[in-house]
């Protein structure tokens, strides 16, 4: 495997590890951004340019900023006195390790039947556009309704209660 792939994989995994291990919440959010960037570069390595740029635009440009704003609005930058890991952290770690073991066993066990190296598919934005309004028009409209509902719902959930109703 190429050197670029190993570097990008190392970047993503390091960012992810830092995001779940660091004490300062804002540092975790910034490490998450590094992980997102690493994943976007992995998408570019897989010749999925549209998905890679959409990942940067949506995840780094919107989700990371949302997370950071939420941390600031909930005073998350103060470290709690009992430590940052929950009381039952060992169980969680064991479960995660178990999940990784199962997934890894499945992947390694099926190496022989996995497809080999293929030619680069040429994907133009025109093809994606045609697919979106052709074959995938129903999911597109449903996602539009979902995003509207999520936006309205998030505003209602996070809105201050009116003074008169208290």
């Amino acid at each position: 495997m190429s050197f670029v792939f190993y570097m990008l994989a190392a970047l993503s995994v390091t960012g992810a590890l830092a995001a779940v291990l660091l004490k300062n919440t804002v540092h975790c959010a910034l490490a998450l951004t590094v992980a997102f960037a690493g994943l976007a570069l992995l998408f570019l390595d897989l010749d999925a340019q549209f998905a890679g740029f959409a990942q940067i635009l949506v995840y780094i440009g919107a989700v990371a900023i949302l997370v950071v704003f939420a941390i600031l609005l909930t005073k998350g930058s103060e470290t709690p006195k009992d430590g940052v890991f929950s009381r039952t952290w060992l169980v969680g770690l064991v479960i995660a390790a178990g999940v990784f073991a199962v997934l890894g066993w499945a992947v390694i066990g099926s190496i022989r039947v996995l497809p080999q190296e293929k030619a680069v598919p040429t994907v133009t934005v025109l093809q994606i556009g045609n697919a979106l309004v052709g074959r995938y028009v129903l999911p597109l409209e449903i996602v539009a309704v979902l995003l509207t509902a999520a936006m309205v719902g998030a505003v209602i959930v996070a809105m201050h209660e009116k003074e008169g109703e208290k």
Binding site: A51, Y59, L66, T74, K75, P115, L146, V157
Partner: protein, 103 residues
């Protein structure tokens, strides 16, 4: 190891790290960060299978990943709105302290 297997292993590793983060951290926002990592790992899986699969010209994997990105953004917005509202009510985001249904 085939290229597809390496991508799948990286995705599995990211998924496990996200799961560990979601299960072991106290702060509710860090649980959401773990969930975002899991969704990203699944996206990586989708794109890897699209690239090395039998019919990349059908764009199925790419479309699935794009819709997944959109849905994940919406879910992050709603989830973080909920966390902010809970913080307003309980004055804390510590999940270990929120182990009762009583308001």
């Amino acid at each position: 190891m085939t290229p597809l297997a390496s991508y799948l292993l990286v995705a599995a590793l990211l998924f496990a790290i996200g799961l560990a983060g979601a299960l072991t951290r106290r702060n509710a926002i860090l649980v959401l960060i773990g969930i975002e990592l899991m969704l990203n790992a699944a996206n990586l899986n989708l794109i890897a299978f699209w690239r090395y699969g039998p019919h990349p010209e059908l764009l199925t994997g790419m479309m699935f990943a794009i819709f997944s990105i959109a849905v994940a953004a919406a879910e992050a917005a709603v989830g973080l709105g909920l966390v902010i509202q809970i913080h307003r009510h309980a004055k804390t985001t510590d999940l270990d302290a929120m182990n009762r249904m009583k308001g």
